[in-house]
Assembly symmetry: C2
Homo-oligomer: 309 residues x 2
């Protein structure tokens, strides 16, 4: 997986992933009204508008970004209709040649992890039939349960050229409460980082990076430099740019000298750009896709100032 991602990053000269995290409040009124008219004010209507919204965002950015990251919670909250919109979004993004990272942050014991693994990155067997249910290229996972909760995913990473990003240091204000605790003279997230790096050794690709990556929030530039040294061959998925306060200058330390090693996520900063003061005079509600494209270009330029591929 990681070599496919790196190729796309180089091709587009852009280490950005667009977070497809739609919320009802982001959907343009004309889209809302159309769906409400068809299905009433129901989860089915919201699922339909999320998918239509995502499609237009994907159409607007597919040629300038390497990857998208749908956050499953935004869909899951609307029940099975929402999950259908998530699956359809993944499928459409794949058709457009994008790498799709499913932000699912699952965690469970081995036999249960196997079920998640088969569904999200593997194949589900029903007698002699095989189904690729979610079809994502990579997913995020939570490491609190230890290696036997991660191991069931490894086989599918190998067999189907898929990857993982495991939480190491998250972007939220309380991330330190557990992750920064001292264990034998180091922080817990450093220890977890070393484990993730070790788990990933068997999946290092041609470019020297592992398909087992780490989530490291954009809001911790000092810690990131240290984590970068601890795990030089691990790719970082970096949330928190823009809306959560991370700036391009702070992101240099997340990358290696080769300009690789990190992919920076922006969600509402891109998909809801049409609502932002910077863009809303130029782009109307109908042009939310064009606004997203402009925001994605601006983000690429911003990152290109600090990292050269």
């Amino acid at each position: 997986m990681i070599d496919r991602l790196i190729r796309k990053i180089k091709e587009k000269n852009n280490p950005t992933v667009v977070g497809l995290d739609p919320r009802l409040s982001m959907i343009p009124n004309f889209m809302k009204e159309a769906s409400y008219e068809r299905y009433g004010k129901t989860p089915k209507a919201v699922a339909e508008m999320f998918y239509s919204f995502n499609k237009e965002i994907i159409d607007a950015v597919w040629d300038i970004v390497p990857a998208v990251k749908p956050q499953i919670a935004m869909y899951e909250q609307y029940g099975h209709e929402g999950i259908k919109a998530y699956i359809d979004t993944v499928k459409y993004a794949k058709e457009k040649g994008l790498i799709v990272i499913g932000d699912i942050k699952r965690s469970d014991i081995a036999s249960t992890a196997e079920a998640y693994a088969e569904g999200h990155i593997g194949r589900v067997e029903i007698e002699e039939e095989n189904y690729d249910i979610y079809g994502t290229d990579s997913i995020t996972l939570n490491p609190y349960l230890g290696y036997d909760s991660i191991e069931p995913y490894m086989k599918h990473c190998k067999d189907h050229d898929k990857g993982l990003f495991i939480l190491v240091k998250t972007s939220n204000p309380n991330s330190g409460e557990i992750q920064d605790l001292e264990v034998d003279g180091e922080k817990l997230y450093e220890r977890v980082g070393k484990l993730v790096s070790k788990w990933g050794e068997e999946l290092v690709g041609e470019a020297g990076y592992s398909s087992i990556g780490a989530v490291v929030g954009a809001t911790h530039p000092q810690q990131a430099e240290r984590i970068r040294k601890i795990m030089p061959r691990t790719y970082f998925l970096v949330p928190g740019y823009g809306a959560q306060g991370g700036k391009a200058e702070d992101l240099k330390g997340y990358f290696n000298e080769d300009g690789l090693g990190a992919i920076i996520n922006s969600s509402r900063g891109i998909i809801a750009a049409y609502k932002k003061e910077e863009y809303n005079s130029e782009f109307s509600e109908k042009d939310f896709g064009k606004a997203a494209r402009q925001a994605a270009i601006d983000m690429r330029e911003d990152l290109n100032r600090v990292v050269a591929l």
Copy 2:
């Protein structure tokens, strides 16, 4: 939530929760064939047979157990059809008066946690309409991200009389890899236990227990006694009895002197009892519900030997 759970436990004299974790391999052939005939060998067929299977299990045990715990991974792996079967299962169990614990082990930053919270234990607003999407009474969560990843659920626990069980010490063999690390002279799971206990203070009910509980695996009897002392007012959800090797004798330390404080989960030991040597001579495949009832009665007797309510 916790007072409702305790009332049911006392009423049934049974601190058991039945894990509704169906797998294709557990479904009786006559049920499989009926669904395949209707929908082919498809996720829709599996979703239908899971729901039919669960309904018959629920019909067989609702009057002797206080609660059920569907593991969402088993349904999620089959996509949106699977999620529909999960939702329908929760609804049916609630109609039968059971407390339903959704085993979802989610973890995410605040704004995303809010989406999970609204969907699973709160209400989802679509303009002026309100939806109770999943309808579970309580859910499991992973604490690795810290309190701001838990806090969004608290409001819904208060407003809708719901609860949480937060992972403290899991039942899997590698649980110690991260959870047993030493932090300032104590184990990480002890530190997490203290945090969970503190987070739960504002939700202590009439019986003196909090609606914010902890997951503590049945495979760690020594550690459980210590955790019991650290968090006397926290209810434990205890997986790992039976299939994972936990025995009733080992479970005494999970309970308080009042006979309360823990609810023990058994999944395949009950729902797939008809396949076990103990039961398969007495119960045919068609009688899988009756076998589950007998296994649930046997488990209740087993637990009653070591804990008196």
